[in-house]
Amino acid sequence: MQKEEKQLYDEAASLIADLALREVISAEEMRFLLTILDLVIIRRDEPELIVFLKQWAQNYKNSETDDIIKATLLALDFNDKEAVGTNLNILRDLL
């Protein structure tokens, strides 16, 4: 890991954990965000999910659909790659 990248990783992880400790975000939201951080910087995995998250962020309207997408994402089991793929297809359709 490059120095800047490591700094970014450490800062982002601290920020996410701090938000959870101050109860700005829930424990589930913290776990999800930390997992995404590990996926992007350490494991460099699930690029399709990352593309989807970017698209979702651009189209976010705080609607009922957005709530469903968020609930689905928080419930994802990242150890089950097949389930992640299936859910991602459903989420793309929703978006």
Partner: protein
């Protein structure tokens, strides 16, 4: 008496937070550091309770095969309610951020360990000072003896250095005899005379009977000439332990590729000739037989690590990792002659002796059985054999049955299918100098006990 403890002076010597942080930071960034620290330290070696918690979290993650990154520690700590205050997070962040990529992890671990021992020494001094102050008229001899015993326990580096008192030794002996007595009774009544093993099955009934299996802490040496079944013996052992009995075993191979090892399993588990599998000269029903064999391998406890540049240090590191993460009960090194030289100035027998000593210590420390395969000279002798024999618990040799034995030895004539001897050269716990006739099918890479046919 002018014995006063200066808190300010002593405290400086009793902990080293920088070393504690360095160990933790290395664990967060480097797997080798994880292996070393997991093996050498315990939570109470850390002075800072927060550091002790982070260490416990890192070890717990590592044992579940999750690398303890900063993020994983946060998730685990938060989930367990151990990271509840922003200040705790700040400390963890400091540790994660201040990683120095040095190779001195053993030095920092030793510093943490030494400080923990010093704290125990300080507690010993305080306790005895207190005793002296409170009971000035006590029996001096008794007081000094008690202090000496305490101090002796402190100077012992490991828990294993415990010295048995006569009473403890007697109790242990009685427990062992009673356990064996009850087991023998059980064998007679329940198992109709078949002796259950003390350790892992060897895959040969006759060898099981003599050795009672490969036991935790045992070093087993198996010697054979080139092309006379070293790897077949190792994989036969692996099959018995990992496939037939579902126990976890680590197999280190210095010669073969992953593909070669995988193909050998196809033959071992299907009983189809290795050459035919290698060339693909098989029919569809044989293919399905082979696939069936691989599905048994999938469910087994066989972990393979092909490593052409194996060194004694590397075996220690890998064994520790697999003990922590997979709880392996045995490790097989195939074979020690191919290990890299640690010191090029040493002669062959010195290197082998060094390797074998390391493996024996490893077996005892990790409480696993370790099997080392060695190559015999063309005349059947082994270089440095005497020294190796001293170190090991069980020394076996695999050799073809000579033609004259077949023709002239009446006992061997009762084993018409036998083609190899499994010779017990040394057996710390039982009979040695025994040659067990076995069947080695080179093509099918299989081994088994030879069938005895009694003459009428």
């Amino acid at each position: 008496m002018n014995l006063q403890f200066s808190e300010q002076i002593t405290e400086e010597y009793l902990y080293d937070l920088e070393s504690e942080r360095r160990v933790l930071s290395s664990m967060l960034h480097n797997e080798d550091a994880c292996i070393e620290a997991h093996n050498a330290l315990i939570s109470t070696d850390f002075y800072s309770p927060r550091n002790a918690t982070i260490f416990a979290l890192a070890c717990s993650l590592y044992e579940r095969e999750i690398h303890p990154t900063y993020v994983e520690i946060i998730k685990e700590g938060h989930g367990l309610g151990l990271l509840t205050h922003p200040r705790e997070l700040e400390e963890l962040k400091y540790i994660a951020e201040h990683y120095i990529d040095d190779e001195n992890i053993k030095y920092w671990i030793k510093r943490v360990k030494d400080k923990a021992r010093l704290r125990k020494f300080e507690a010993f001094l305080k306790e005895n000072y207190q005793r002296l102050a409170e009971m000035p008229d006590q029996d001096v001899e008794q007081m000094l003896m008690a202090a000496e015993e305490q101090l002796t326990n402190l100077t012992a580096l490991e828990i294993d250095d415990h010295v048995d008192s006569p009473a403890e030794m007697a109790a242990l002996g009685y427990d062992e005899v009673e356990r064996r007595f009850l087991r023998f009774k059980e064998i007679r009544e329940l198992y109709k005379g078949v002796i259950p093993l003390d350790g892992l099955s060897t895959g040969f009934e006759n060898l099981n009977h003599i050795t009672l299996g490969y036991k935790a802490g045992d070093l087993i040496i198996l010697g054979a000439q080139t092309g006379h079944g070293k790897t077949a013996f190792a994989l036969h052992t692996a099959r018995t332990i990992a496939v037939d009995h579902g126990k976890n075993i680590l197999y280190l191979n210095t010669e073969m590729s992953r593909q070669q090892i995988a193909l050998r399993w196809g033959s071992i588990l299907s009983g189809i000739e290795h050459d035919r599998i290698r060339t693909g000269d098989i029919n569809e029903s044989e293919l399905s037989l082979i696939l069936n064999g691989y599905s048994r391998l999938r469910e087994s406890g066989f972990y393979s690590y092909p490593c052409p540049n194996l060194t004694p240090e590397k075996t220690i590191s890998i064994a520790r990792k697999f003990k922590a993460q997979k709880n392996i009960e045995m490790m097989v090194v195939d074979y020690v002659g191919r290990m890299e030289k640690v010191d090029p100035r040493l002669s062959e027998w010195q290197i082998l002796e060094q390797i074998v000593k390391t493996q024996k210590m490893l077996a005892q420390n990790l409480k696993i059985a370790v099997m080392c395969l060695v190559q015999l000279n063309p005349d059947g002798t082994l270089q440095g054999a005497k020294r190796m024999k001293n170190e090991c618990d069980l020394m076996l040799k695999l050799a073809p049955i000579p033609r004259e034995d077949r023709e002239e030895n009446e006992e061997i004539a009762r084993y018409p299918d036998a083609n190899y001897y499994l010779i017990i050269e040394k057996n710390r716990d039982g009979r040695s100098g025994v040659s067990i006739p076995i069947v080695f099918d080179l093509q099918k890479q299989s081994m088994r006990d030879a069938q005895r046919i009694d003459q009428r």
